[in-house]
Every structure is written in structure tokens, then in C-alpha cells.
């Protein structure tokens, strides 16, 4: 990118800071509360305590639900990105029979209200006799987030110059070699971006999960049900831990997976 003037640089940084305040402001409430006693429904700012964290370690239901959420999120994200690459290549491929229609189909689950997708899938699974389980939740999430993965990848693929691929063929590379050595490296940041968006959506998905799950809870299902009686203090602790953990993972990933002077590829 270009060299910015001092004024432009300052303006952009200020706006970025504002957005960070908007993003993190709401998170401060549960995180700050997690380190204090909660009595009579109110945070006791004068008595710091780790009791919320102790309570969390004993709350087997929440921990199981959280692990289920991770399983679903990772699997669905992996499948969605894989299918996203596959579909993107297919529809960039000249083999374009019904391309617009199929793109529309892929987008449908993202456009329809989640309750509608959830019900359709539930009735479909019932009629084809597929038992409802975490697997059906994974299928539901994959269908739901696929559009996001596909769109992110196809936008990047479009900007990939055809001449690269032709050059690769001219040099005698096979399709697979071209895919692995030319296409995939160019897709890298789009793939990571797509995966993050998909995982984030899956992680928070309530309505489809609730309708197509068997007897397994996911974290959003538990939180949704808890709205009736109010969240227990250990939920604050969980939120704080998730934030700490993901931030740490991100920093470590960037630190050890990227070369020092990494540039976007």
C-alpha cells in the first residue's frame, strides 16, 4: 500500500480506534463482571473474586456444550471451505451448465431465515430417517455458511489472472500441480478469511442447531435457554476465557506461522 501523509494516517488510526472501542466496549461488561462477586443480581465492585471461574469448572453441562460447539464449528468450517473451493473452481471452469441457478441455490440457505432452514432440514432428515445428532447440526451449519465461503473464494479466484494458469499449463504442469502450486497459494488469505467468517457464524448459530440437534446442546442453545432465568456468573467467566484464549491463539499463530516480514499473498 501507499505511503500515507501524517494527517491521513492519524485520521485512519483514530477511526480504527473508534471501531475497536465499539467492538470491545460491549465485551468489557461481562469480562469485568467475571472477576467480582455477584450478589443479589448486581456486581459487587468492591469484592473481587474468582468464584465465577471455580463455578465454571464444575458446570459440566456448559463445558460439554462448549466442546460440542467447537466440534461443530471446526468440522462445518472445514467442509464449507473445501466445498467452497470445489464449487468456485467448478463454476470458473467453463463447465457452467446452470451456473447462475446453482450459485443462487448455494446462496439460498444464507438468504432464508434460519428458522426456515432449520425446519426444512429437520423435516427432510425426519423423512429420510436420518437420526438427529451433532452430525445433522454439522450438515446444517455447512449448508448455512457455505455461501460465505464460496463468495469469499470466488471473488479472489476471479481476480486471479487466467494467464497464470495458462502459463502453468504451458510449462507442462498438470491440473493438480497447477492447483497446488499456482491456484492454492494465491487463494491462501481468502481461504483463511473464509474459514474465520464461517467459524464465527457457526459458533453463534442458534436456531438451525436447536432444530436439527438430537440430544446434544451447543453453547448458543444453552445461552438461548438461559435467557429465561438469566445468565449465571460462570457464563461471564466463560466469555472472558474464550476471549483470552482466542486472542492468545491468534497472536501465537501470527507470531510463529508468518515469516517476520510477512506480506499478504
Amino acid at each position: 500500500m501507499m505511503q500515507l501523509s501524517r494527517l491521513a494516517s492519524f485520521g485512519l488510526s483514530a477511526l480504527t480506534a473508534l471501531v475497536f472501542v465499539l467492538l470491545y466496549g460491549p465485551l468489557l461488561v461481562p469480562i469485568a463482571s467475571s472477576f467480582f462477586e455477584i450478589a443479589r443480581g448486581d456486581v459487587q465492585w468492591t469484592s473481587p473474586s474468582l468464584s465465577a471461574y471455580v463455578a465454571l469448572t464444575r458446570n459440566q453441562g456448559i463445558i460439554t456444550a462448549f466442546l460440542n460447539t467447537l466440534i461443530v464449528g471446526f468440522t462445518a468450517t472445514f467442509l464449507a471451505v473445501l466445498l467452497g473451493i470445489l464449487f468456485a473452481i467448478h463454476y470458473r471452469n467453463g463447465a457452467t451448465f446452470g451456473r447462475d441457478l446453482m450459485q443462487f441455490v448455494i446462496f439460498l440457505p444464507f438468504l432464508m431465515p434460519p428458522i426456515m432452514i432449520g425446519l426444512s432440514l429437520l423435516i427432510f432428515f425426519r423423512e429420510t430417517d436420518v437420526p438427529r445428532s451433532l452430525l445433522t447440526v454439522i450438515i446444517g451449519h455447512t449448508v448455512f455458511v457455505l455461501a460465505l465461503a464460496y463468495r469469499t473464494i470466488v471473488v479472489r479466484l476471479q481476480s486471479l489472472s487466467v494467464s497464470y494458469i495458462e502459463a502453468s499449463y504451458d510449462l507442462g504442469a498438470s491440473s493438480w500441480q497447477t492447483f497446488f502450486y499456482v491456484v492454492l497459494p494465491n487463494l491462501k488469505s481468502a481461504l483463511i478469511g473464509a474459514a474465520i467468517l464461517c467459524f464465527a457464524l457457526s459458533f453463534d448459530e442458534t436456531m438451525i442447531s436447536l432444530l436439527v440437534t438430537g440430544t446434544d446442546n451447543t453453547l448458543p442453545i444453552r445461552l438461548w435457554a438461559m435467557m429465561r432465568l438469566g445468565f449465571t456468573p460462570d457464563i461471564n467467566a466463560l466469555v472472558a476465557l474464550i476471549l483470552a484464549f482466542t486472542t492468545l491463539m491468534c497472536v501465537l499463530a501470527v507470531r510463529y506461522l508468518l515469516p517476520k516480514d510477512a506480506e499478504g499473498t
Binding site: R40, V130, L211, T213, T215, W224, M227, L229
Partner: protein, 344 residues
């Protein structure tokens, strides 16, 4: 040739995929599948139940009546063995053939419940053709919560919700069915669950007025509490009754609770078995287990709800309670309620 191959492969896939899912992920039937509200199946009860009976209860928690219906109806009752549902909603499940009647002989603890829940035939809606489709578990009245500092003297009628003095300080509940019923009571209509078109028109106009007085329509007790804490609220139409009172008092609010003279609606949650129940004995063991005095007391202590086994202060003996019934046309009520909400 090429197309043919594709099509054949596609068909093969279509047939193979569900079959594959079916065989490899089939679930063992040794556990009990429970759908419950938060607070109706706490971890320690599930654990004790398992110790006593050897049955593992897998509980999925739901957040609204709407989801229970979507989930049970969508799976035609196959996804759960036993579920919590209120008596008014229950009718739809019985109509749809989604329930399995209980065998009272398997529920010895039902003999020890409070007097008013002893004779199940007296409780409208849970019996059909002489069969018991659900067992009462938990109830509460839907009265008025008022802030003692802001509302004095204590209100005795729902009409106070329309008082312009409290404009923007009223919390009401976001549900067309209940709002039509309680407004019918307020207007003095004899049967709040069977309204004529003309009565509905009057109520709709009255609810449009109520909307002008309301700060927000809430759906959960905790939401109402949060609204109360961060805003100037004087009156709450308390869909969750004593539970809300308890939560608010715990939070230090100086509030009172009345069941108004027009009569307060009251809901009654029950346990019903689905038509797809896999192990009827296990499901009945679960219900019987929950009908213990100790569980009832813990339920009321933890949630504030009234239970059916141990006496609590949920309703004064003199209070007029109107048990919720299935309404004449929920679709119509919901449509009218949507119209009220859509008005500017």
C-alpha cells in the same frame, strides 16, 4: 455418455448418503431424551435420577414455546421422549397426535401432590377421552409488579397499565395470545379464550393504546429485570409471576406483586410424553422422580415458580386465578398482535 454417468452418480449419491448417515450414526436407545425449560432439569437432579434408576437423562433446553412446537412437530415427536409444555399449548400436541398418555400407576408420587392438583380431571386441558396426557409440574399467576416508590397506593386493577401517568414506564409481554386474554379480562369479557370478532376489534384498539404507554415488550424474566435496572420502570405485566418477583427482589428492587381484581391469568407447565417415546417406563420414572417434595421445594427456591407438591406463596387463596386455555384462533390473535406492533 458423460451426462449419463453424472446422473447415475448423482442418483447413487442421493440414495447412499442418507443410508450411510443412518447406519453409522444411529443412537443407542438406552437413554432418556428430555426437552425442558431452564430450571426444570438441573444437573444435580439429573445426576441423582441416574444414581437411583440407572437411566441417563439427556436434556436439551429450549427458550420459547415456539421452539418446542417447531422441534416436536418438525420431528413428529421422534426426537424426544418427554417434554415440558403448558396446558394451553398442550392441546395442539394432543390434536396432532404428538403425545402418549401417562399411566398413573407408574406415577406413585402423583398421589402426594397439593390438593388442587390431586384431581386431574378438574384441571382443564390435561385429560382427553379419559386419558391423562400430561402431569402438572410447575405453575404461576400472571399479575402486576409495581415499584413501591413510584406507584402508591398499590394497584388493584390492570387498568393502571393504561394510565398516562406511567407513559414510557410500563413493561408488557410480547405475546398476542396472552395480551388478548388479559385485555379481555380487563374489559370484562366473560370468556377471554373465546372471543368474537367484535371483541377482538375492541381489544386490538385497546392494545394499540397500551403500546403508546409501554417502554418495551419483553420475552424473558431476565430481560424484564435488566430493563428495570437500566430504565425508569414503574409497572410490569408479569408473565412469569413470582419468578420475576424473586429475581427482582434478589436484585434489591423495592417492589410489590398483586393479582388484580379482574382475575389473573395463570399458566401451568406439565410433563408430556411424545408419540415417539422410546422407553415409556424411563419417561414415567423421570416424571415420578420430579414429583418429589424435595425437588418441588428446590424448584421453587431456585426459580421462584410455584410447584405442585410443596406449598409456596405463589397465589393467595382469595386470588382469582384464570388457568390459561387453548384460545379460539391463535393464528388470528398473532396476526392482530403483529398489526398492533406494526403500527407507528
Amino acid at each position: 455418455m458423460k451426462i449419463k454417468l453424472n446422473r447415475r452418480a448423482m442418483i447413487a449419491m442421493g440414495v447412499a448418503a442418507p443410508a450411510l448417515l443412518r447406519t453409522s450414526w444411529a443412537r443407542a436407545a438406552s437413554e432418556l431424551r428430555v426437552m425442558a425449560w431452564q430450571g426444570y432439569a438441573d444437573d444435580d437432579w439429573v445426576k441423582e435420577f441416574q444414581e437411583q434408576t440407572g437411566i441417563t437423562a439427556q436434556v436439551v433446553f429450549i427458550g420459547t414455546d415456539d421452539e418446542i412446537w417447531a422441534k416436536i412437530k418438525g420431528s413428529e415427536g421422534k426426537d424426544f421422549d418427554v417434554f415440558a409444555v403448558n396446558t394451553a399449548q398442550l392441546q395442539r400436541y394432543i390434536d396432532g397426535g404428538l403425545t402418549t398418555p401417562h399411566d398413573l400407576a407408574k406415577l406413585p408420587n402423583q398421589k402426594n401432590v397439593l390438593p388442587r392438583f390431586q384431581d386431574l380431571a378438574q384441571i382443564k386441558g390435561i385429560m382427553r377421552d379419559g386419558k391423562v396426557h400430561a402431569i402438572p409440574f410447575c405453575f404461576d399467576s400472571i399479575g402486576l409488579i409495581y415499584d413501591k416508590a413510584k406507584v402508591s397506593p398499590a394497584p388493584d386493577s390492570f387498568t393502571i397499565l393504561w394510565d398516562p401517568k406511567y407513559k414510557g414506564k410500563v413493561l408488557a409481554y410480547d405475546n398476542g395470545e396472552h395480551n388478548f386474554s388479559f385485555t379481555a379480562l380487563t374489559l370484562g369479557f366473560p370468556d377471554p379464550f373465546n372471543l368474537s370478532a367484535e371483541q377482538m376489534g375492541q381489544i386490538k384498539a385497546k392494545l394499540s393504546e397500551l403500546k403508546q404507554n409501554v417502554l418495551s415488550f419483553y420475552t424473558t424474566p431476565d430481560e424484564a429485570l435488566q430493563l428495570y435496572k437500566s430504565n425508569d420502570v414503574a409497572l410490569i405485566w408479569a408473565n412469569y409471576g413470582q419468578q420475576q418477583v424473586k429475581a427482582m427482589k434478589d436484585a434489591g428492587a423495592d417492589i410489590g406483586y398483586v393479582n388484580p381484581k379482574e382475575g389473573a391469568l395463570a399458566w401451568l407447565d406439565t410433563w408430556a410424553m411424545t408419540s415417539g417415546v422410546q422407553d415409556k417406563d424411563a419417561a414415567e420414572a423421570w416424571v415420578n422422580f420430579l414429583l418429589q417434595k424435595k425437588i418441588g421445594e428446590q424448584l421453587s427456591e431456585r426459580t421462584g415458580f410455584g410447584n405442585t407438591v410443596a406449598e409456596t406463596g405463589s397465589a393467595n387463596p382469595n386470588d382469582k386465578l384464570v388457568w390459561l386455555e387453548f384460545v379460539e384462533d391463535p393464528t388470528k390473535r398473532s396476526d392482530l398482535w403483529n398489526e398492533v406492533k406494526a403500527q407507528p
